[in-house]
Amino acid sequence: MGSSLRRITAIKARLHARLTLVVRLVLAAAMLFAASPSSGAADSAISQLDEQCLACHSSKGMEMKLANGDVLSLQVEGAAFAKSVHSKIGCAVCHADTSFENHPPIKRKIAGSREYSLAMTKVCESCHAPVAKQYEGSIHAAQLRDGNAYAPVCTDCHSPHAVMAKQAYEASTGAPCSKCHDPIFTAYTGSVHGQATLGCSSCHNAHDVSAASKGDRLKSACLGCHQDALEAHQKWLPNAGRHFDAVSCPACHSPNAKRKVDLRLYDAVAKERVAEKEGVPQFESRARLADAKGGGLDALALRSLLRGFNSEGTDTTLRGRLEVSTGVEAHQLVRSAQAIRDCAKCHQQGADPFQSVTVSIVGPDGRQVRYGAKPEVLNSIISVDSVSGFYAIGGTRIKLLDWLLALAVLGGIGAPLGHMTIRWLFKKYAKRISGKEDS
């Protein structure tokens, strides 16, 4: 037993110079935790070893120039770090690649600050695997996969040396979402939800945030809180279920928004929206091909586009959805008493939502890929088949049927009047003839 211990001590001694900083610091931190009951207290006091790091790294203006010319700040605010949840684990756990041998001077080269952030996400993942998995399904991760190097990664939302517990995020400031989505957050603060200081993640989730237009998740988020919404609407709104399917919540609950119709390609067999196949985008090229004149798809072009999608034996149709034009408008939700209740806002010819039409498909990152269409596609007899899944009584009525109706009514009134006139003329004529004969 004693000899084994001696051997281990000897090996440790030999490897001492090569041991990385992290192992030593973690061990030291663990010893500190064990030795001092107060070190694990909620005040998140910084360990002595971390103090050593901060001795240099709290210096103002400490930075390094990276290979691409970026300047990476190396300064860590000691007070902020002390308050952060990561103060308990210390510097070395995340900076395990920094050893006594390479620090200082820095031997490895960092290509750029963005590359460094991307590389550091791996470090986050090593402890936060479930969250990382959620993130993988998010629109942010999809953007990253799509080649957008500036898509948000962990450190963009969570300041690495001041990361706080979930509860500490201040919903009223919108942080960290407002950093990128400021116009939306500004609009949101004035909304009924903003005034109630609900945070962004209440509807969008924190890490698996998805594209606003993807699936029914956002509608489900609304209905998750407003569970009696359908029942409440059924009391006054005819066809409430249909309205819930074809009209987005903000279309009525953001009354000042400019609204539009999005005709979504829908696979009638699979019963889901058509999505672009990854790596082989075809929607836009097909739409451009169909829209030879380039002014937006007209009724014939829309038919041609659908034929293209159905050429492989699929049953692709279009399902319309009435929505607001911008993300800002989608967040300007008002109290239900101020929401649109006047059916005529949509159900009449020339109504605002039907002046702007797009056709869309789900893009590879979950966001919609849209192509403009002419408003006439909603009123053309040619679209009966292609726009079969969208119809707003009054608002998208087919013009040809208006003419037919006028003809039917005029014929219905005119034919009896004509018949009566001929009868009257015959009678008069017969009288005149018979009068002449009498004389």
């Binding site: 819930f244 969208f390 087919i398 049927l401 009514v409």
Partner: protein
């Protein structure tokens, strides 16, 4: 002049409920389709009335259907089973309305208990009552709750297809109702047919030389 009982009470009840209902349906149909152009009642009121009256008419339709299915009066719709004879009679009737009536020719159709309709009427009413009206009710019910019937609507080609069928039949009835009223005034007096639909009795003029 003598009277024949041609319109039994159930038929008269059905007819006037149907007449009132169709007028309301056409009126509210116009209001629903042309809100902004016609603003006599709100869109929502028009829809609610349209829905309720629609269901009343569906119930009322079964008065008509069951009465004719379970009485021998069904013969009024097919007194003549020979298609050729029926076609010839229809042609004669068309010739009368298109020309003979102007000269004062007698109506080629003679009303009796089992022949209250002329050939054109019996044919067109069968198309209306057995095809157009049920189709209109069916499409109307589908549009009443699009979500509930979404499976069937999709099977038929989508909500726009169903609505277009509904509107096409609406167009037909909007024109037909004027013709129907006008043709009802072509009895031996203007009000003769209309009166008979209230009291059930059709007044038959004695033909010259019939000895009646």
């Amino acid at each position: 002049m003598h009277r024949i009982y041609v319109h039994p009470l159930p038929v008269r009840i059905w007819h006037w409920i149907n007449a009132f209902g169709f007028v309301v349906m056409i009126f509210t149909g116009f209001q629903i389709r042309y809100i902004g152009l016609i603003d006599l009642v709100s869109f929502r009121t028009a829809v609610v009335v349209h829905d309720w009256i629609g269901f009343v008419l569906i119930g009322n339709f079964f008065i008509w259907l069951l009465y004719y299915l379970f009485t021998d009066k069904i013969r009024v719709y097919h007194p003549e089973l020979s298609p050729m004879k029926h076609f010839r009679a229809s042609l004669r009737q068309a010739m009368f309305y298109g020309y003979g009536i102007f000269k004062g020719d007698p109506n080629p159709h003679h009303v009796s208990v089992y022949e209250k309709f002329n050939s054109m009427q019996s044919m067109s009413y069968q198309v209306i009552m057995l095809l157009l009206v049920p189709l209109q009710f069916w499409t109307g019910v589908l549009l009443w709750d699009v979500k509930r019937f979404s499976g069937m609507i999709d099977m038929l080609g989508g909500v726009r297809v169903v609505d277009t069928a509904h509107v096409l039949i609406f167009i037909f009835f909007s024109g037909f109702i004027f013709m129907h009223i006008y043709l009802a005034t072509l009895g031996h007096t203007r009000m003769a047919h209309i009166k008979s639909m209230f009291n059930g009795y059709e007044e038959i003029e004695e033909e010259p030389g019939s000895g009646k």
